[in-house]
């Protein structure tokens, strides 16, 4: 079987454009030739994963100028959350991103918990970890299916959506909704884990490793896939760090960095998993990182199923957490607490925190500022998609227009999260 020829690997020095790191400017002497064609790509284009606009300047097929324009999906999440109580602000966090909703929800909930200083029971911690890893698999599956589709491989899409549907079924079991489950509550989980969940989840863990092998069989020796991904969209480790890249993009560039290992949150220090790192910093390596991460996440899910502790699923703090339903009929205090929590919400002590989690796309951070009142003073999200798109100009230096689809796709961005 023919394998694609080796292209030049990772480069020396920096390729970040100057003076504007995110804009590739056409050199003056090239501009004078009057041969530059400006092409507007997007904002509505099927292969930009949403509404991303790229203004590309071409010299023949070669990209000589590039500017990414975002903001078409700006929804004002951060502003809206300032007018909601802490509790009612939770559903906003996951809705920014239709693929990694649980990781986003987790970052917000953990930030509120950090300000409150509330302890989360172990069962909730492990269940959060389990769901976040399922969510990572879910996000990577959609990424793989759509990215392959954009490069002309239609079959993987059907295979990945087969497994994605199983994950959505699991989400539906816990939260009632297939996406944006809003299952994480300040203090723990919104509900107990439903009966039947573990069995279904175990069956998924048995199926998933074989399914990843199947996807690789479809793509790994596909000559078109190899030629369009190997040596394309190069990013060195130094440039990736300077541009603030995180997640699979950073790991594809040879940096062994994962917040789950570097600063373990939830119960990541109690499970075994490896961080896949690749050295070449091209689209192929980012693809490989995604594939290996799906295997590792499945490993974590299986361990979380085995190690899931029993007990309460939410903290017992009546000033923050709703009282058990049955107490409302017998206890006056519980009724008062319930009423106060539902109408006015709880207060969060004055202060500011920054909490970062390893979302499927990289470092997802939540900065919270509270004035001690029932509503957030300021909510700010560090969106990995936003940062990833800054690297487009570096990735596309001297590349061909056809490589752009592969390179931008490999950044794994979701525009809703990018524009917030």
């Amino acid at each position: 079987m023919a394998i694609a020829p080796e292209r030049p690997r990772i480069y020396e020095g920096s390729r970040i454009p100057s003076p504007i790191p995110s804009v590739l400017l056409v050199p003056d002497e090239l501009r004078k030739t009057d041969d530059i064609l400006e092409v507007n790509f997007g904002p509505n284009h099927p292969s930009t994963h949403g509404v991303l606009r790229l203004v590309v300047e071409l010299d023949g097929e070669r990209v000589v100028g590039l500017r990414a324009v975002i903001g078409y999906l700006h929804t004002g999440f951060e502003k809206s959350m300032e007018s909601k109580t802490w509790w009612k602000a939770i559903p906003y966090a996951p809705r920014m991103d239709y693929l990694s909703f649980q990781a986003n929800e987790l970052a917000f909930v953990m930030a509120v918990e950090k300000l409150l200083g509330i302890e989360v029971p172990p069962k909730a911690v492990w269940m959060r970890m389990l769901l976040c890893e399922l969510n990572r698999v879910h996000s990577h599956l959609v990424w793989l299916g759509t990215s392959a589709l954009e490069l002309g491989a239609i079959s993987p899409f059907w295979y990945t959506f087969r497994e994605r549907d199983r994950i959505l079924d699991l989400f539906e079991m816990v939260g009632g909704a297939r996406m944006h489950t809003r299952y994480f509550q300040v203090g723990g989980l919104a509900e107990d884990i439903p009966s039947g969940f573990f069995g279904e989840c175990r069956r998924f863990c048995e199926v998933m490793p074989g399914a990843v092998d199947q996807y690789e069989q479809l793509l790994d020796q596909n000559e078109i896939w190899l030629k369009r991904t190997k040596g394309v969209g190069l990013l060195s480790a130094e440039d990736a760090i300077a541009l603030g890249q995180s997640g699979p993009v950073l790991r594809g560039s040879g940096v062994d960095w994962d917040l789950r290992k570097a600063s373990p949150y939830l119960a990541y220090d109690q499970v075994e998993f490896d961080v896949p790192v690749k050295r070449n910093g091209d689209v192929w390596d980012r693809y490989k990182v995604h594939m290996d991460e799906m295997r590792e996440s499945t490993r974590i899910v299986a361990q979380a199923l085995e190690g899931m502790p029993g007990g309460a699923w939410i903290a017992d703090d009546r000033k923050v957490v709703l009282p058990p339903r049955e107490e409302l009929h017998t206890s006056m205090e519980s009724l008062i607490h319930h009423f106060k929590l539902v109408t006015e919400g709880f207060r969060v002590p004055e202060g500011e925190v920054y909490v970062a989690v390893e979302s499927p796309r990289g470092e997802f951070g939540c900065y919270l500022c509270s004035d001690g009142g029932p509503r957030p003073w300021r909510v700010r999200f560090r969106a990995p998609s936003f940062v990833a798109l800054e690297a487009t100009a570096t990735l596309m230096r001297d590349a061909l227009i056809a490589d752009m689809i592969a390179a931008v796709g490999s950044l794994d961005t979701v525009m809703g999260e990018c524009d917030r």
């Binding site: 970040i16 003076p19 504007i20 790191p21 995110s22 804009v23 975002i70 903001g71 700006h74 004002g76 951060e78 502003k79 809206s80 007018s83 909601k84 109580t85 950090k114 300000l115 480790a237 760090i241 300077a242 541009l243 603030g244 040879g254 940096v255 062994d256 960095w257 917040l259 290992k261 570097a262 600063s263 109408t343 006015e344 919400g345 207060r347 004055e350 202060g351 500011e352 925190v353 920054y354 970062a356 470092e363 951070g365 900065y367 500022c369 004035d371 001690g372 009142g373 029932p374 509503r375 003073w377 300021r378 700010r380 560090r382 936003f386 940062v387 798109l389 800054e390 524009d419 917030r420």
Partner: protein, 184 residues
């Protein structure tokens, strides 16, 4: 970790296990270079800004109200238990820094903070961390804080001809005009 050598350091405080270094805006770039080169904070996670307009305002009758007062018909406008400590200026810009070492099993973070009033300039750190490019554009777009020395300080999320800066506290929700088709 000692931050005593950071140029222009005004105040250093610890809360919730996080370190905040308040830095003089005039020496921000020096401080940023010191933090990157001497202390190894090579990764800029995020630049965020906060508008403290109305923070710690005089209370309304009966309780410490927030800036919009206490409205009994509006749940969630519960007054504050105590008045928050006043802030030195209207805006804070926070730089969330991380020391990222490949293979390291620790993630030290520090928050560099500068305080400015309306129309005061903040020096740009694009030269120190290129990733600040879009972050600073977003702060400008959303808060109206201008960065001196930024190579391309234009709006990023809102339209180029947008008026106002939406995340300011005096920018109302629902305040934007709604355009209808067929309207002149």
């Amino acid at each position: 970790m000692s931050y005593a050598g950071v140029p222009g350091l005004v105040e250093s405080r610890e809360a919730h296990g996080e370190t905040t270094l308040v830095v003089d805006p005039a020496r921000l770039v020096e401080a940023a270079e010191h933090l990157r080169d001497e202390l190894g904070f090579n990764f800029l996670s995020d630049v965020s800004s906060v508008d403290y307009l109305g923070w710690s305002d005089e209370p309304v009758a009966g309780s410490w109200g927030d800036s919009s007062g206490r409205d009994l018909n509006s749940p969630g406008s519960w007054g504050l238990a105590r008045r928050p400590a006043p802030k030195p200026k209207r805006f804070a810009v926070n730089y969330h820094l991380l020391r990222l070492v490949s293979g390291a099993r620790e993630a030290p973070r520090v928050r560099m903070q500068v305080w400015v009033d309306d129309a005061e300039l903040v020096p740009s750190v694009v030269g120190v961390w290129p990733t600040a490019d879009w972050h600073e554009r977003e702060v400008f777009d959303m808060m109206g804080i201008r960065f001196s020395g930024h190579p391309n300080l234009v709006r990023i999320l809102m339209d180029d001809d947008w008026e106002g800066h939406p995340l300011r506290k005096d920018y109302p929700i629902g305040g934007e005009p709604v355009r209808f088709s067929g309207e002149e």
